[in-house]
């Protein structure tokens, strides 16, 4: 989680043969269908507007645990059977949980899409959530946390950074949950979560591929239509109070190389038509880190040789507050303090001197191209629609967004750097590498097979 993805690639789709059909079912479920006939394939994604940001202290990680439990059986479809049936149809399936949403997806031959819709509708309403299955699956989730976070120094740094950047907003909590919360989680926590959020009026179905929209709408009506809407819990904004002064956090973990990460509070995209700063921040990230010769790599890694890696990122599409982040790994013989100073100097240089027209044109050329490239992935096209929709944005505004990115001026880039990348709104996180403790395990080295 050290790197933020550079998200300029979320641009518009203008492929001539693509069309989008949308309908809201009577129970409030949104259905969005994008036809793309390049291959005889269909993607189904069900997006729930419930992620770790909706959790409470003491049961962090429950959104993700429920995601795991969604494969553990309904009244009609026993545990494991969902995956088996999709696999038998040649399908691929998985799910992911983020801060803002939980999504479930299948990719199938186009004539097998109905199976996915039928199974998804079933588990939206009829999940078993048995205590036995929960007891095993929570162990799996703890293994996942060990693998992704406990034994990963960069992930622990990111966790520490988020917990410092945000004091009030729930983005301070890790998506996978704190280990102690996982250890103390009860099946009733999962049941409660399911009851709160797994309702058609909190879900969006996105289908993309070589499909007949009328047919898909009919299936959606048939399978999801009978599920009743429920009152959703009130969502509190939990706005982060303004930060007044730099914050610091140090994470010690066994590692070889230190890492320095800087995060500033930044605006997110609220109105794609009238906003301008989020677009300028995206371009700024591209100026710093859009390609191998962009400013951070060129200056810190190649010319000054202070760092072995340096990157920048900004993602303005989210339900909660956004951040602008840069990070770097100091090269041998250079301190994190020197690298931090160099990172800040690159930003100061933009604030002082601005950015060049050619530099800006280069970033925009990449945006333009990414608009074409993203059409190569059906899954990604569906993903963009789902992300925008769950973030509360109109996916159709992605066309607007592309136009707005092209309109960003050098002066706007300079202005957002000056306005947002200020020390009072900064959190600095350092990974302080510790020597490896390699106490031998019980059996020590060597030996032949003893199985």
């Amino acid at each position: 989680m050290k790197r933020l993805l550079f998200v300029l690639s979320i641009a518009v789709t203008t492929v001539a043969h693509a069309e989008i059909v949308e309908r809201t079912l009577d129970n409030g479920m949104r259905v969005i269908i994008k036809t793309d006939r390049r291959a005889p394939v269909a993607v189904s994604q069900v997006w729930y507007r419930a992620g770790s940001t909706d959790e409470f202290n003491g049961s962090t990680g429950v959104a993700h645990v429920l995601e795991h439990m969604m494969f553990k059986g309904t009244h009609e479809v026993p545990a494991g059977e969902f995956s088996r049936r999709i696999a038998a149809a040649g399908g691929r399936e998985n799910a992911f949980t983020s801060r803002d949403h939980t999504a479930y997806f299948q990719t199938l031959q186009k004539d097998r899409l109905e199976l996915a819709l039928k199974l998804e509708a079933d588990r939206m309403a009829n999940l078993n959530l048995s205590a036995d299955e929960f007891a095993k699956e929570i162990q799996v989730v703890m293994e996942e946390r060990r693998l992704r976070t406990e034994d990963n120094p960069q992930a622990r740094l990111y966790e520490g950074l988020m917990a410092t950047v945000f004091q009030a907003h729930p983005y301070r909590r890790p998506i996978i949950g704190w280990m102690d919360d996982l250890k103390n989680m009860h099946v009733d926590d999962a049941r409660d979560w399911y009851q709160r959020w797994y309702a058609p009026n909190n879900a969006t179905l996105v289908v993309a591929g070589d499909v007949d929209p009328a047919r898909v709408l009919a299936w959606a009506e048939q399978y999801f239509g009978p599920i009743s809407a429920r009152d959703l819990p009130q969502r509190k904004p939990q706005n982060e109070p303004e930060q007044n002064g730099v914050r610091q956090v140090v994470v010690k973990a066994p590692a070889k190389l230190p890492v320095i990460a800087l995060a500033w509070h930044a605006p997110r995209l609220l109105d794609p038509e009238t906003d301008s700063d989020p677009y300028a921040l995206e371009i700024l990230a591209g100026v710093l880190d859009g390609h191998a010769s962009a400013r951070l790599n060129q200056s810190l890694v190649r010319e000054q040789q202070l760092a072995t890696e340096a990157s920048a990122g900004y993602d303005g599409v989210s339900r909660g507050p956004a951040l602008f982040m840069v990070d770097a790994t100091p090269a041998e013989g250079h301190t994190v303090a020197a690298v931090e100073a160099a990172l800040k100097q690159e930003i100061a240089r933009i604030v002082r001197d601005g950015v060049g027209e050619q530099e800006l044109a280069r970033v925009k050329a990449q945006v333009l191209a990414s608009q074409v490239y993203q059409q190569d992935s059906l899954f990604y096209q569906a993903m963009l629609i789902g992300e925008w929709t769950t973030a509360g944005l109109d996916y159709r505004a992605r066309d607007t967004r592309f136009r707005k990115l092209k309109e960003v001026t050098p002066e706007q880039v300079r202005e957002v750097a000056a306005k947002y990348l200020v020390d009072d709104h900064l959190t600095v996180a350092r990974l302080d590498p510790q020597p490896m403790d390699t106490k031998p395990a019980r059996r020590g080295f060597g030996g032949r097979h003893d199985f």
Partner: protein, 440 residues
């Protein structure tokens, strides 16, 4: 977007079957002797190109392990008229992306560009310079060596890296496949500019090159593009073969101490050739053992029933010479013995009884039914073209895939698995190891 329910499976056998008509692979050689594989498709205004050379880590001298990787890396950091800085800028100016590929067999580059004449010609011009006239600037070499060494040192703190490396060394012994792809701290330190130049001269030759092209250009344009890429290279000769892998007689077990909260298991042996008479029985059979995600016996036994692991898998990786078969998992330290014994028991049971008819049917249904998704994008098709080209697989390899999967029987699987996977020959590496209570 952080927590997938399961790690992406190792789909290293992922060359696909066919049901789709219309993957019309055109093949020819340039006058310089480079082999070209082309699929013409005008649906999107974009073009993907990859070039591969038999210049992977299996070509490294042992004392300078890491040379092949460093050569490939330096090639794109200054070439011909392009300064280091120019390369990324010229690509970015036209919205093109430059990528790379490196393993024991292959070293290569990939370019994705818009297909307009101006854009693609600029991108291909830069790629041509990278291939033919890399500068290997001394100052850049010094800097990149320091970066590679820092990366290796960081990796050496990671249990997954340590385990994979020890496993590779154990199963391959003195074969070049034992060499770490990125080299070692001590061997990278010894590499100099002359080494890079010599490695480049000896390996980056037209007759050692395969070119894959996918997308929005005509045959004539593809021919011109391929010739431009090949024309800067000397024809050279086809590369010397990689020596065969000697079978392991008696596997060993190592436990590598580590502070991590999980133990990591690596168990297996050299198992599969890229062109292997048992390719399909082993691939289909492995779906049932540990390749088929939630359908696999390893996942059912160790993850679903016992809750011992998030990720547990087995795979065969086909390579020019015998590529690895490996079983892997990660589990909390205090469950190490239980998980390792369970994995071993599942393997032995599978070698005894093979798949059931129901399991075999499920495997075939998934592999055959999933075929269209394997070639549903330009990027995926490019990857298949590159493999077919590099390994000189038959052009109809994709067309014959489905019938070959369908033809596999339980007996084929049992015979092939018993012949390849002798348990006593397997090496086992455990990073971490059994503890009575969790580490702090």
């Amino acid at each position: 977007m952080i927590s997938d329910r399961i790690l992406v499976f190792l789909t290293t056998l992922a060359l696909a079957p066919t049901a789709l008509a219309g993957l019309d692979i055109q093949h020819w050689s340039t006058p310089q002797g480079a082999r070209v594989y082309f699929v013409e498709n005008h649906e999107l205004p974009m073009l993907d190109v990859s070039v591969d050379f038999a210049a992977g880590s299996a070509r490294d001298p042992r004392a300078k392990s890491g040379l092949a990787s460093l050569t490939r890396q330096l090639m794109s950091l200054g070439a011909g008229k392009y300064e280091e800085r120019d390369i990324a800028e010229k690509m970015a100016d036209v919205g093109a992306n430059l990528g790379g590929r490196f393993d024991a067999d292959r070293a290569g580059f990939q370019v994705r560009t818009l297909s307009g004449k101006v854009e693609r010609e600029q991108a291909i011009d830069v790629l041509g310079a990278i291939l033919a006239t890399p500068r290997f600037d001394a100052g850049i070499l010094t800097r990149e060596k320091a970066r590679v060494i820092a990366g290796l040192q960081e990796s050496e703190t990671r249990p997954d890296y340590l385990g994979a490396k020890a496993f590779q060394a154990a199963i391959y012994g003195d074969h070049p496949y034992a060499l770490n792809e990125g080299g070692e701290v001590a061997t990278v330190a010894k590499i100099d500019r002359d080494d890079l130049r010599a490695f480049h001269r000896d390996h980056y030759r037209a007759r050692n090159m395969s070119i894959a092209v996918m997308g929005d250009i005509s045959r004539a344009e593809a021919e011109a593009l391929a010739e431009k890429l090949a024309s800067g290279l000397p024809p050279g000769e086809a590369p010397a073969p990689i020596p065969p892998v000697k079978p392991v007689e008696q596997g060993k077990r190592q436990v590598i101490p580590h502070h991590a909260t999980q133990s990591h298991l690596f168990m297996g042996l050299p198992g599969l050739l890229r062109e292997d008479p048992d390719y399909f029985p082993l691939y289909v059979g492995n779906y049932v053992l540990g390749g088929g995600g939630f359908d696999s016996r390893l996942t059912k036994a160790i993850r679903d029933k016992k809750g011992l692991a998030y990720s547990v898998y087995s795979y065969f990786m086909p390579m020019r010479e015998l590529g690895p078969f490996q079983i892997g998992l990660q589990t909390r330290r205090e469950a190490t013995d239980d998980a390792v014994a369970s994995a071993r028991a599942e393997l032995e049971r599978y070698l005894q009884e093979g798949p059931t008819e129901a399991e075999l049917t499920q495997a075939k249904n998934n592999i055959v039914g999933g075929f269209p998704m394997r070639i549903d994008s330009n990027r995926k098709i490019l990857e298949y073209l590159a493999v077919i080209g590099f390994y000189r697989l038959p052009l109809d390899w994709l067309d014959t895939y489905t019938p070959q999967v369908e033809a596999v029987s339980r007996d084929d699987i049992l015979r092939a698995f018993r012949a390849r996977l002798r348990p006593e020959a397997m090496d086992t590496v455990i990073v971490g190891g059994q503890l009575e209570s969790p580490p702090k």
